[in-house]
């Protein structure tokens, strides 16, 4: 009997090409994803910034890591949305009735999420540069920052996959991202945790965003990162593995 070859990478490139077209044909998704974080950055720097004591001269430098995380957290809502629409429209069923490597259907969306979030991140960094963001980071530190952002995006993307696969409505598909978008506000992203009441502070200092932000901030300003980078990595990888596991379970159940 003829064996059926597995065309994983070929199928994956088709899936990726498809959803990248979706993104470039509706650039408004990228604009929507970047505009709020940019507006926040303007607001914090030019309105609240003067009143916030961070102990750093350049508040844009202080702010940028948290802003990037907020952008990614809102960007993944679109991944959930695109996945949900694929299920609704029946195109997922068409793919699944075809002799393709089935997992590429999900991986296509996951890679697309990485690419589209990378685009948003670059746009926001460009705006931050105009606003006075400066970094003394070397190549290695920059790569480390990119690595953290990639892990963070992947972790959230797999959560988005769960949401997209199990949502009952379009609104439901994106709703999961709101609490995630909110997390940076209760962290060291905008103000040092030292001024917070003790209960809030305990939460802020022990949730993933703080260590991710602190690690990125240290890397970008060429300071010693200490343990933050490892705690950040463990958080991201941990969340990613758990979310991946549940996403796969939901996927197997839905198809």
């Amino acid at each position: 009997m003829e064996t059926i070859k597995n065309y994983f990478f070929m199928d994956l490139s088709v899936m990726l090409g498809r959803s990248m077209r979706h993104i470039f044909r509706s650039m408004d998704t990228i604009i929507t994803v970047t505009i709020t974080p940019i507006a926040m950055m303007l607001l914090f720097v030019y309105v609240f910034g003067g009143a916030i004591q961070t102990g750093t001269a350049n508040y844009v430098n202080y702010l940028l890591p948290g802003i990037l995380l907020i952008a990614i957290a809102s960007g993944i809502a679109y991944t959930a949305y695109r996945l949900f629409m694929d299920m609704q429209r029946g195109i997922l069923e068409r793919f699944h009735s075809m002799p393709i490597a089935r997992s590429t259907v999900l991986w296509g969306h996951v890679l697309t999420s990485l690419v589209s979030n990378a685009i948003s991140v670059v746009i926001i960094i460009l705006v931050a540069l105009i606003m006075g963001f400066r970094s003394s980071a070397g190549v290695l530190s920059c790569l480390a920052v990119a690595g953290i952002l990639t892990l963070f995006t992947l972790a959230l993307t797999w959560i988005a996959v769960i949401a997209g696969l199990s949502a009952k409505s379009v609104d439901g598909a994106g709703a999961f991202s709101y609490p995630i978008i909110f997390l940076p506000f209760i962290s060291s992203a905008f103000v040092p945790t030292g001024t917070m009441p003790s209960a809030v502070r305990a939460f802020a200092e022990n949730q993933p965003v703080t260590s991710i932000v602190n690690a990125m901030r240290a890397l970008l300003s060429d300071q010693p990162v200490g343990n933050d980078i490892w705690i950040a990595a463990v958080w991201c990888i941990g969340i990613m593995l758990v979310a991946y596991f549940f996403a796969m379970r939901v996927y197997k159940k839905r198809v």
Binding site: M10, R25, R89, G90, I91, E93, F95, M98, P99
Partner: protein, 256 residues
């Protein structure tokens, strides 16, 4: 074994959604190269059967052989030899018609995806709209593209779940023409429909699904014989499928 002459063999197929028993032991066979119509009212379970046969849904029990491959143990081989046009058009709205077709051709690992797309666009009179986003297509165009996407790679067996629902008479006739051409070319066509007229027009074999079972199946001529002997009438009138269908369902109701 004459298994090779059957495109589909279904025996004792059962499927429930939680407590709702939809298929209660469905049996039927589809000849290779024929057009098979599965008739049934709303909610009878037609789509459920199509989804099981196209490996989208797991059956609870029964044996199902598609193109000689066991659905449960060889789903990959089944997928290789079939294609599905679902009840609701499964096209990518944001891509163009051409991109939709060449995407499917690439996923079927054909060597000249652009050529395949061009040919199908021409065949389905979509050449002019080929480079427009599908979101601008009319319902009929979308359905044509949907069916065209299922023909990519020339699968031996094509499933069409209510292919003409929502089309105007002209669109319907167009789809009928496509189905007939497919069968003439040797492709087996499995279609579901609520329109008895459609089954009459197209099908070599007809099966009626009612309350979880196939209550009758056969050629149109055989079905007509099942029709309760006509009262003496002055005008010789052939019963339509509609009448057969209603009569049979009526009988079943009385038996209860």
């Amino acid at each position: 074994m004459n298994m090779q002459n059957k495109a589909i063999r279904v025996k004792g197929l059962k499927k429930s959604y939680k407590q709702l028993e939809v298929l209660k032991g469905v049996d039927f066979e589809v000849e290779q190269g024929s057009i098979f119509a599965l008739l049934g009212s709303n909610g009878a379970g037609k789509t459920t059967i199509v989804k099981i046969l196209t490996t989208l849904l797991k059956q609870d029990s029964g044996t199902t052989i598609v193109n000689g491959f066991d659905l449960v143990s060889e789903p990959d081989h089944v997928r290789q030899s079939i294609s599905l046009t679902g009840q609701f058009a499964a096209v990518d709205e944001i891509l163009t018609g051409r991109e939709n077709l060449s995407m499917i051709a690439r996923l079927r690992h054909l060597s000249h995806p652009r050529q395949v797309a061009d040919d199908l666009l021409k065949r389905f009179s979509l050449t002019e709209a080929a480079d427009r986003g599908v979101s601008t297509y009319s319902g009929g165009m979308r359905r044509r593209l949907d069916i065209a996407m299922s023909l990519v790679g020339k699968p031996q067996l094509i499933f069409l779940d209510e292919p003409t629902t929502g089309l105007d008479p002209e669109g319907r006739i167009e789809v009928w023409k496509i189905v007939k051409e497919l069968a003439d070319g040797g492709t087996t066509v499995f279609l579901t429909t609520q329109y008895l007229e459609e089954a009459e027009q197209l099908a070599d074999q007809i099966a009626i699904l009612h309350e979880g079972k196939i209550i009758v199946s056969g050629t149109l001529a055989e079905l007509k014989k099942l029709f309760p002997p006509a009262k003496v009438e002055y005008i010789e009138k052939q019963p339509t499928l509609e009448e057969i269908f209603l009569a049979i369902i009526g009988q079943k109701m009385e038996e209860k």
